[in-house]
Each structure stands twice: as C-alpha cells, then as structure tokens.
C-alpha cells in the first residue's frame, strides 16, 4: 500500500471519530428525553476497562464489546435513578459519575496497566466498495464497528423522527408535562433513553480500547473524549447524522497530530494541536451551560429539568 499521508490521516480520522459517534448518539438520545448526562467520560472509561478484562478473559473481542457496553449501561442506571427518581441536579449527578466511573475503572485496570490486548478487532475490508479510489480506503477498509456505528446513527435518526416512540421521546424533552398529560410515562421514557445512552457510551469506550489504543493506560485511555462527545451533541444540534460528521471532524483533529508529525511539519507545536479538540469542547460546554444559548442552539426545552407532576 502506498496511499498518500492525507488519505491515511482521513482513514485514521474515521477510526478516531468512531468512539465519539457511539457516545454522541447515546447522549443525543438521553438529552432528547430531557436528561443531561455529563457522566459520559466515566461511562466510556468503565466500558473500556470492562471490555479489556472481558476480552482478555474470554479471548473474544465481541464478548469484550458486549461487556463494555453493559458496563456503560450499568453506570447510566445510576444516573437515571439519581436524576429521574431522586430528581437530583443532573449536572452534579453526572459529574459525580465521571469521578466514580474513572475511579472504579482505574482501580479495576490497575493490574493490567500497560498489558497489550491480544485479541483486538480485525479490519473488515468491504469488497468492491473498498476498491473505490481514496473513498474506499477511507471509509470501507475499516473494522466492523465503524460500519456498526453507521447503523446506529441511521437507526437513531429514523427512530427519533419516524416512530411513535421517537415522537414521545422528543415530547418528553420538550415538554414533559405535555407528555404526561397525553398518557406517556415521563419516567420510563427517561430511564430507557438514559440507559441506552449509557450503553452506547460503554460501546464507545470498548471500541476505544479494542480498536484504538494499544493498551490500558488509566484515564489516558479515553483521554477526555467523553467530554468531546458532549460538545459534539451541541455542534450536531442533536441530530445523529450531523453527529457522525462532527465526530469525524473531531477525529481528524485528533488524528492530524500524528499525521503532521509524520509529515515533518513542525510549524505548529504538537501540544497545541492535541489541545485543539479540548479547547473547542470547553467553549461549547460553557455555551451549553447558559440556558438562553441552549435554547437558541435547538436544545430540548426541558433539558436538565427534573419533572415532578405535582410541583409548581
């Protein structure tokens, strides 16, 4: 293979963006139901460590993926319980889960720190499509989870706009009192979507360790991409297809670093480049925390507000 550096970089961008795709689509679902889940980073990290342990124990990356997914979902159950049932402040609950998830993952990952993961995920070249010049190399010579992430995006987009429950989901995030009055269970809708969001975050974390990084390296394994996923949701205006696009842009920013170094470009310090996605993220999160800005960006109107029927 003698592809140009930029083609390889773009291919790397797709792969680097894939954990973001999973996590961001999950977060979109949770936020559409009206629950802000800031715990994504914790869920991804826990998903990653669980995936490593399960894959190493079973020798199957698929088992690893499943286990990591479930781990993310498990942590999301806690968030759903705190924010829906206990009506806790969602920001506080989410942040607490980041700390808890990170702590637990680091503890579990201590013994395997630095170990290489044997059964990683193998690439799946899609015949014919992969032979298309440039595009084929970038999009169709990837691992199966990249393709799976497209399916997740397509399903989420279809579900949200075209199905009865998708309509209920959106109503629940826009106006829970209306959903309630129309006979929908706000609590159930929120639980389900927060948990699905957590499952997807866990899957993103699992992908990160199974396909992206060579070994477990504590909190550095995900290196804050959970936060990037949160920012991405806003960039994408809560739309799955845009989230896919955005994920690849962020992925490109993450991958460009290596590419530029490889190409010997040192006009821009590498540290600055690796900072870039995080700077963007901070900016978006600051904007996101102002409720007026949230509204203008198209956030669900009741995002972050616990619903209680008999309360004014």
């Amino acid at each position: 293979m003698n592809d140009a550096v930029w083609v390889l970089t773009l291919a790397a961008a797709v792969s680097a963006g894939t954990p973001l795709v999973f996590a961001a689509v999950g977060e979109i679902l949770a936020e559409k139901s009206g629950v802000l889940n800031l715990g994504v980073e914790g869920m991804m990290l826990l998903g990653a460590v669980t995936a490593f342990l399960a894959a190493a124990a079973s020798g199957s990356p698929l088992v690893g993926l499943l286990a990591g997914t479930l781990a993310g979902g498990g942590l999301a159950v806690v968030h759903a319980f705190l924010s829906v049932t206990m009506r806790a402040n969602q920001i506080v609950s989410g942040l607490a889960l980041v700390i808890f998830g990170t702590g637990l993952a680091t503890f579990l990952g201590n013994p395997i720190e630095g170990d290489p993961l044997k059964p990683g995920i193998v690439d799946l070249r899609i015949p014919i499509l992969a032979d298309i010049p440039v595009v084929g190399r970038i999009l169709f010579d990837q691992d199966p989870l990249v393709y799976a992430s497209w399916l997740v995006v397509a399903l989420a987009a279809f579900y949200m706009t075209r199905t009865r429950t998708g309509l209920a989901l959106r109503a629940c995030g826009e106006s829970p009192e209306t959903a309630d009055a129309m006979g929908l269970s706000v609590a159930r809708l929120r639980y389900v979507h927060v948990i699905v969001g957590g499952l997807l975050a866990g899957a993103g974390g699992a992908y990160q360790i199974l396909a992206r990084v060579p070994s477990w390296s504590g909190a550095g394994t995900t290196a804050g991409i959970g936060w990037i996923a949160l920012a991405l949701v806003v960039f994408a205006a809560w739309r799955p297809w845009r989230a896919l696009l955005g994920a690849y842009l962020f992925g490109a920013a993450l991958a460009a670093n290596f590419a530029l170094q490889a190409a010997g470009v040192d006009a821009i310090p590498a540290e600055f480049l690796s900072m870039l996605p995080y700077l963007l993220t901070i900016l978006v999160l600051v904007i996101l925390s102002a409720s007026s800005a949230r509204k203008r960006l198209g956030a669900p109107a009741a995002l972050g507000v616990p619903y209680a029927r008999e309360e004014r």
């Binding site: 309509l167 959106r170 106006s175 209306t178 009055a181 129309m182 004014r312």
Partner: protein, 503 residues
C-alpha cells in the same frame, strides 16, 4: 348527598375527595357529580381548588382521600393515561402542547393506537373532521409555536376529542380568549354536550357560567359551598356563595374634576422589537384624580406603551414626563423615583420573583435599608395578605406556589403600598375572580380619589369601562379612538378595536 340513587350513574363523580399541598388544603371532602350530556360549571375564586379538583379527575393528581367514579365504577387513576383510557380528558389552564411539534404531531402524541411507524395522515384527516363537526378549525400541519392562543386552545380540545374523551374538563378556558372566540367556544361546548359528552367548565366568571352550563357547583377554600341548577339560580346568589359576602361590581368614576396632568406622553414612537408591536405617534395625558383606560385587542402595542411609560423602554422619538420630570428612556428606577408605579401584566415574568417569599417580594422595590428587618417585613406582609385577601399559607410562602390570582394580588400590594402618584397598570384583574376583582378595583378607585393619575391598559372592555373616566383605543400602535367613560358605547369601541376605518 342523601338523595335516592339515580337511575343512570353520573358520567363522572368525585366522592369526598381531599387533597393537601404543603401549607394548604386545596380540596376538602369535595363531592361532584356530572351527568352524561351536561355542561357542568365549577365556579370559584382564585385558589378555591378548582384546578386541583380537575387534576384529580383527570388522573394527574392522586387524591389523599376519597374516590373518583366514572359511569358509576370506581376509577383509581394512577396517571392521565388511565383517565384517558376511561374517556376523561382535560384542557389545562396552562396549555400542554409541544411548541415545536405540528398540530397533528401533538394530536397523535401518546395515542396507543398509533402504529409504531409514525403516520400523521389519519390524524390530519380526523383533525379536519373533528374541526368541522364541533366548529374547531385548525390546520393540522401548522406548528404550534406559530398559533395564536385561541388556536392553541382549539388544538387542545381536538386532541382530547381525538383520544375519545367523553368527559372533557376545560380549566378556565375563556381566560385567554377574545369575546368572539369565547362565543365560538360556547357553541363548541354545546355541540359536544348535544353529542352526549359531558363538559366540566371551570370559571370564575358568572356571566359565562350562566350562559353555558346546566348545572353549577360552587367552591370556596377547597369546599363545595353550593350546587344548583343554573336555570334556577341568579347572579347575586352565586356570587355570594363564591365570595362568601355580597359583591358590587358597579361602575366607578371620578366625582371631582381631574387636576393637573401628572403623566404626559408626547408624540411617542417606539420601534417594534421581536414580538412587540411598534408605537406610532402616541400622545396622551393622565391628570390627577383621573383614570385613563386604554382598550384594544391584545398585541396592538399595549406592552410597548406600558413599558415606555414605565421607563423600561426607550422611544425613538417623543417624551415621557412624570410629574414634571422628563423620564424618557432613563430606566425604571428614574420613573419610580419620579413617583410612578408599574404593575405589569406578566406577573411572574416581570413582576414577582417566583422563589422568593411574599414578604421578600414586597420588599424588592425598597432597596433600603441594607440589612433586612425580618420582623417588620413579616408584619408588612401579614398586613398586605389581610388587606388584599391573598390566599397563602403565610408571609414566608414562595410566590411560585400561589394561584395566579393571588400572585396578582401580591404584586398589586407591593406596587400600591407606598402611595405612588402615577400608576400604570396592565390588565390588573385578568384571571381574577369577582371578589378579588372588586378588591382590586376598589383599591384603584381609592387611589384615584386620593389624587393619583392612573393609566389602565387592558384588553377587557368591561374592566376599562367600569373604571375609566376617559377611554382611548389602541390599534396597531396608534390611538384611533377617544371617548369619555360615560359616553363610551361597546359597539363603537369594538369597531375601533377591530380597526374599523370610520374612526
């Protein structure tokens, strides 16, 4: 009620229903029976517990005691879904619509018969049919955020009919309607009753109750205090039952000639911003001891007018003079210092801080002294609660928990307490029951006698006519009509409000 068991069970019935919220008993042993095919009014002052009762019937609230029966069978509603399944639907006082959805999407929301793959086509058809049948024209493809309040209400009703409601609860449906829209609503209500549906019509307006219902249940302080056939009851007795004393809502006008002008608006032009209507060349003056009423259909510049007068908005040209001081665009504090008080219509949005207590809210406009004197604040608040008959658990209750009418009273209490000489009020009795309306009007009348200049801006013609010495009509940001309070006649005013070119 110890009468013999009825041959046909009531369509919906409440038996000994009680419900308490922290600090208030909203419903205390309430009995209600509504027959099939009847329009049943629930009449009561603000905070009487009408919405609470309705929410219990609709499955939103669970009663602490007592039970609800539908067609004679006990119904233990755990949520509105259960109530809808039994054919009980409610149109809430504060609408429950998803603004970003289309009408059809709002209608099919939560419908268990909707196929998993969303299809609004059938809903669009049904919405059109229902609209035809009951006189509720709505465009199923319109987005709710683009609709007027009247249209939103039609969507709410259609929504419940689509879900097959046989009992429809309308919580203060006319509060947001123009007189014409209210008239149409009455026709719809009658059409539904003729179809065999039962309608529970909640209101505190006697005339509406008399016009639309066959039966009326009167509530006060969480209790049912009277029930009657509407045909055999009269205004006075219903009003007395509702308020607990005699009320007098006759016209009040100044007896003495007005004094010097205290509020002068000169050639005001205001640019429209967002959804507010611009003002064009508006001049008026309000003299001491005079009430000047500004009538007009909502959205014709009332808000701009009130806000310019109160110093909250800067005109592009023209002057605002309060007691000889030019306060044009100098901000609300300057206007206040010149002796002007402003009672906005949006009482929770701009008038009160919802999570602060009543006593704290009363203090908001008195920035001095720096340290709060708890005792004194509490005494002031107690006094205001008594004087303005604010129904609240106490001076420490957050204003968020007050019913709409009581919040308005708290706001008036604050604005009128330190004797301003110029008062700008917007719809001071909107949403208030007769008792409170009378109290508020008396307060304004008393201020007039004391020599205040009052600018009364309201969409309610009755309100304008009952208090004003002079009446102006605002249409598309201009004053198009002027008359004295005595000579005003409804027809001319109505025409001017509708923009008829003769004026």
């Amino acid at each position: 009620m110890p009468d013999s068991p009825p041959a046909v069970a009531p369509a919906i019935e409440a038996r000994g229903v009680s419900k308490a919220f922290p600090g208030v008993v909203a419903n205390a042993g309430v009995d209600l029976r509504v027959k099939k095919g009847e329009v049943h009014a629930i009449l009561g002052e603000n905070g009487a517990g009408k919405s609470t009762l309705a929410s219990i019937l609709a499955g939103l609230y669970r009663p602490d005691e007592g039970e609800v029966r539908v067609n004679g069978e006990p119904a233990h509603f755990g949520s509105p879904r259960d109530a809808l399944a039994r054919g009980v639907g409610m149109v809430y006082q504060h609408f429950r619509l998803v603004e970003r959805f289309t009408v059809a999407e709002n209608v099919v929301l939560g419908d268990p018969h909707q196929p998993l793959l969303l299809s609004t086509r059938r809903a669009e058809k049904t919405v059109a049919e229902l609209g035809e049948k009951y006189g509720l024209p709505v465009n199923p493809r319109a987005r709710v955020e683009d609709l007027s309040v009247g249209e939103e209400q039609r969507v709410e009703i259609v929504k419940m009919l689509y879900r097959g409601a046989d009992v429809l609860i309308l919580d203060e449906p006319t509060a947001v309607l123009t007189p014409q829209e209210a008239e149409n609503l009455f026709e719809t209500v009658n059409a539904m009753a003729a179809e065999g549906k039962s309608v529970i019509f909640i209101s505190h307006k006697l005339s509406e109750v008399l016009a639309v219902s066959q039966h009326v249940t009167v509530m006060r302080d969480g209790h049912v205090v009277a029930r009657a056939e509407t045909a055999s009851s009269d205004r006075r007795s219903l009003a007395r039952a509702m308020v607990g004393r005699d009320v007098d809502l006759s016209v009040q006008r100044a007896e003495e000639a007005p004094g010097e002008p205290l509020l002068v608006l000169e050639g005001l032009n205001v640019a429209g911003e967002g959804d507010t209507v611009p003002l064009r060349d508006v001049s008026l003056e309000v003299r001491a001891g005079e009430v000047v009423g500004v009538a007009g259909v909502s959205g014709n510049g009332q808000r701009s007018l009130a806000e310019v007068a109160a110093g909250m908005r800067t005109p592009t040209s023209g002057r605002v003079v309060v007691r000889g001081v030019d306060t044009t665009g100098k901000g609300p504090t300057a206007a206040r210092r010149a002796g002007l008080a402003y009672v906005p219509e949006d009482r929770l949005g701009t008038g009160l801080a919802p999570s602060l207590s009543i006593s704290e809210n009363l203090l908001l406009t008195h920035p001095r002294p720096f340290f709060l004197k708890r005792k004194q604040m509490e005494a002031t608040a107690r006094e205001a609660i008594k004087q303005f008959e604010i129904r609240a658990p106490g001076p420490d209750a957050a204003t968020r928990g007050l019913s709409g009418g009581n919040a308005q009273k708290a706001l008036l209490a604050r604005e009128l307490s330190d004797g301003p000489e110029v008062i700008v009020v917007a719809s001071p009795t909107r949403g208030l029951d007769v008792g409170a309306t009378q109290a508020v009007r008396e307060i304004l009348d008393r201020r007039r006698r004391a020599g205040c200049a009052i600018l009364l801006i309201s969409e309610d013609l009755d309100e304008v006519r009952s208090l004003s010495d002079r009446i102006l009509v605002l249409y598309e940001g201009r004053i198009v009509h002027e008359t004295s309070g005595e000579e005003a006649n409804v027809e001319d005013l109505g025409l001017a409000m509708a923009g008829s070119s003769e004026h």
